[in-house]
Symmetry: C2
Subunit: 435 residues, 2 copies
C-alpha cells in the first residue's frame, strides 16, 4: 500500500509569524536545545525528514526566525548526532554560493549522518541578500539559468568518485585508486569547475535534492533534477493542478511519477475537538499585527503597500519580477475569493502563504487522506505554527490516525533517506551529464 511521506518544516519559532507569542512556545531559533526537541518529536512521529528554509539577510520587520536563526548546515550536522533515522534537509541558495562548496558540504553531511542528507536547491528569491555579498540580485530568468547549471555541477561532482576508490591497503601502501577519481572539467556559462571533490561518494550516492519553485522554470528544474518537491498551495484543486503540472513533466526527462514525491505545505491547527482547534487559530491570529504581517507581505510581493486600503478588495496587484511562489499563490487566492489586504496579510501571517488546515484531529486526517488519495499529494510538508505545541498536536493526535489507517509508517525501515522515500541509490553517471 502506498504511504505518505511527511516532512517537518523546522522554522524555530514556528511558521506562524507570531507563533512565538503562544504560551510556552519556543521564542528563539538559536536555542539548540529546543531545536533538538523538535527533531526528536519528528522522529518519534516517524517523519521522513526535517527540512529548513533559509534566508541570507536580517530584516527585523519580517518573520522572527528569518532574522534570528542558526545556519542550516551546521545545525543539521549537529542534529545528525541527536537523531538516528530522519532525513536532514538544508536550503542553500544557488545565487549566493558556489557549487564545489555546496556539493562538498552535503556530501559531508551525508557521510556524517549515514546517508540522511538532502539539499533544498533554491535560487534565493529575495533581493535583500545581494548587498551582503557585494552583488546585484539577478532577475528571475537569470537566477534559474544559474540554478540549472549549478545543480548539474553539484550532481556531477557527487558522481566524481567511484564507490570503491578508497583502497587503503596497508601492505602495498596504495591508499586511493587514482583511476577511480574523475574530474568533472565543467566549463559552462556561469561556472567553471574542475573537480573532483576531496570527499568520497556519499552513502546515498547522491544526497536527495529538494525543490520548491512553482514557476515554469522552477517546475522544469524540479522535473529534471528533484527527488522531492514542496508545493505552495491554498486548496485541493490548486494542489492537484500543481501535482499534475510536475508529474506530467517527468517523462520528458526519462523519469517516472514515483521518482519525485510532491509534498504540499500545510500548517495544521489541530484540536481534540473542532472548537479547540478554532480557538487555537483565533488565538494565533490575534497576535498578528499590520506591523509584522504587512512587512512580510511587502517583502513577498516586492511592492509598497503603505497607501492601500486595508479593507477594500485587493484587486489586481502587479507581481514583481515573476515567480515568487508564495506571492503567486496568495494573489490567485485573493482574486478567487475577493479578499481584502487585511485578509491577505492575516493569511500570510498565519502560514507565510501556505495552506492552513484547522480542525479536529479526525477531520485533519480525513483531509490529508483525501488529498493523498485524490491525486494532489504524495505526502505533506508539515509547517507547525509554533513549537513545541503545534508539532506535538500533530504527532500526538493526527499521526496515530494516519498510522491506524495504514497511510503512514509506524516504525522506520531502511537506513538512508532514499530508503525512506522509496528512491533507489543512483548509479554514477561517469563522464556523462546527468539527464
Amino acid at each position: 500500500m502506498r504511504q505518505m511521506h511527511l516532512g517537518l518544516f523546522l522554522l524555530g519559532t514556528g511558521s506562524h509569524v507570531a507563533g512565538w507569542r503562544m504560551p510556552g512556545a519556543v521564542t528563539s531559533f538559536q536555542d539548540f536545545h529546543a531545536i533538538q526537541q523538535m527533531a526528536a518529536t519528528a522522529e518519534r512521529g516517524c517523519f521522513d525528514l526535517i527540512f529548513m528554509g533559509d534566508n541570507l539577510y536580517a530584516d527585523p520587520g519580517a518573520h522572527p526566525s528569518y532574522t534570528l536563526r542558526l545556519e542550516p548546515l551546521t545545525m543539521l550536522a549537529a542534529l545528525a548526532m541527536t537523531t538516528k533515522h530522519i532525513g536532514l534537509g538544508a536550503t542553500v541558495a544557488t545565487t549566493y554560493s558556489d557549487p564545489w562548496s555546496v556539493a562538498r558540504a552535503f556530501a559531508s553531511l551525508d557521510h556524517i549522518s549515514g546517508g540522511r542528507a538532502a539539499w533544498n536547491a533554491v535560487t534565493g528569491s529575495s533581493a535583500q541578500a545581494a548587498p551582503n555579498f557585494g552583488r546585484t540580485h539577478p532577475n528571475h530568468a537569470e537566477r534559474y539559468a544559474i540554478a540549472a547549471e549549478f545543480v548539474d555541477v553539484v550532481r556531477g561532482l557527487w558522481d566524481g568518485w567511484e564507490d570503491d576508490a578508497l583502497v587503503a591497503d596497508r601492505a602495498s601502501g596504495l591508499y586511493l585508486d587514482p583511476a577511480k577519481l574523475h574530474p568533472l572539467n565543467h566549463e559552462g556559462v556561469h561556472f567553471s569547475v574542475k573537480g573532483p571533490l576531496n570527499i568520497g561518494r556519499a552513502p546515498q550516492g547522491r544526497p536527495v535534492i529538494l525543490q520548491a519553485g512553482g514557476s515554469e522554470a522552477g517546475l522544469d528544474l524540479a522535473a529534471r533534477t528533484a527527488d522531492v518537491v514542496f508545493a505552495v498551495v491554498q486548496d485541493f484543486e490548486e494542489a492537484r493542478g500543481q501535482y499534475r503540472a510536475l508529474k506530467s513533466r517527468l517523462p520528458a526527462y526519462g523519469r517516472r511519477p514515483a521518482d519525485v514525491a510532491v509534498l504540499p505545505g500545510v500548517m495544521p491547527i489541530v484540536g481534540r475537538t473542532e472548537r479547540e482547534a478554532l480557538d487555537k487559530l483565533a488565538q494565533l491570529q490575534g497576535f498578528i499585527s499590520p506591523g509584522n504581517a504587512l512587512q512580510l507581505l511587502q517583502d513577498r510581493l516586492g511592492i509598497d503597500l503603505s497607501g492601500q486600503d486595508m479593507d477594500a478588495p485587493l484587486g489586481d496587484l502587479p507581481l514583481h519580477d515573476g515567480g515568487h511562489g508564495f506571492a503567486r499563490t496568495l494573489l490567485n487566492k485573493a482574486r478567487r475569493d475577493n479578499l481584502t489586504l487585511r485578509d491577505v496579510y492575516n493569511l500570510l501571517g498565519a502560514a507565510r502563504g501556505h495552506w492552513v488546515l484547522c480542525g479536529a484531529a479526525e477531520k485533519v486526517a480525513d483531509t490529508l487522506q483525501q488529498w493523498f488519495e485524490g491525486g494532489a499529494a504524495d505526502g505533506f510538508n508539515v509547517m507547525p505554527s509554533h513549537f513545541p505545541g503545534g508539532m506535538d498536536d500533530f504527532v500526538n493526535l493526527v499521526v496515530p490516525i494516519l498510522q491506524e489507517r495504514g497511510l503512514f509508517r509506524t516504525h522506520y525501515e531502511g537506513r538512508t533517506l532514499r530508503d525512506l522515500l522509496g528512491l533507489d541509490r543512483p548509479e554514477r553517471l561517469g563522464g556523462r551529464k546527468p539527464a
Copy 2:
C-alpha cells in the same frame, strides 16, 4: 602558575603521510565514528581545542587526508554534540569563500557548541584550489590583502548584534529591538558587505580566531587579529625566534603578549622507553616512499623535483611566490643541516614540515617544558602521526607528567573556549573598526 594550552591537530589518518599503514590505525578521514573517538580522547586529555586544517582540492598523490576528508564545519558541528568542553576550530580559506557566510557559520557553530567555536583564517596557499572555483589563484601579497579585509569584515559582522537585541516579549509582541542591530555597511577594496548577520551575537562575543601564517604579512595579520597562532618550526631557536617575532608585533596594535597564545606544531612519537619511541618512528618512516612524500614536497615547494639527485645535498632551491611556511621552514633546515632531498622528503613525510619530537614520555615532557618556560611556546599544537595510537600515547603517557608538574590543567574550568584560553569576551566595537 602559567599553564600550557594544547591543541589537537585532527587530521583523520594522522599527520604522518603514511600513518594509516600502522597496524590498527584509522584509515579514513570520512569515518565519523573514528573521529568522534579522537575528539573524546582529546577531551579526556583536557586539551583546549581540536583544530582542523583544510584544503579545497583532491590530489591522490598527496597526503591521504587532504584528498579524502569530511568538510570542517559540518564535522565540528557534529562533534559539538559528542563533546562538552573542548574548543572546535575549523579552517576556512579567505580566498575561496565570502565573509558573510563565514561569519554566519562560525557564529552558528558558537551558538550550537555553547561558545566553543574557532575560525582558523588562512589564505589558502595551494593554487590547486583555483580551478574548482573557476578562479585564478591570487599571488601571496594579494591573498594577504584579501585576507586582512576579509577578517575585518567577519569581525565587524560578529559585532553587528548587541547582546540584548532579542526581546521576545509575548505581551507586547516586540520580538527584536531593531535599534540593537547594526549594519556594517562595509565598502572596501575586495568586499562590499552590508550586514548585519541573521544570527545573534555569539556566546563568545566573537569566536576565537586562529592563524598560522609565518610570512611578514602573515605575522602582521596574526598580531593584529589572531587569538591563537600556530607556528611551523623545527627546533627551539627557530621557535623562540618566531615566538618573539609575533609577540613583539603586538604592542603596535594595542595588544598585550597574553592576548595571543603561540602554539608550535609538534608530532610527538612517544614510548615508555627511548627504544620503543625510536622503533615507532622507524616503523612509520619505513612506510614513506618517494611516491607519496615527493609529491607532497613538490606541492609544498611549488617546484618540479623529478630531475634531482635524491642523495646529494639539497643546496639552494628557489622558493616560489613567497610564503608557504612549511616550505620556508624546511628549506631553512635543509641549509642549516646540509640535508639531502631524501632527508627532506622523509622529514616532510613524517610531519608535513613540522617538528618531530621522539622519545620516552619523560623526555618528551621535559622538552615541552623547556620550550614553554624558555620563551618559545605558550603550549603546543599536537599533531599525532596516526590515530588512535599516536594520540593515545601522548594523552596516556605525556599529559599526566605535565599535569603532575602543574604545567597543564587536570580538569576543565569555565564554559567557553575563551575561558580555556584565558581570553576575555570582547566588547562590541559598535560602528568602530576593530583595531
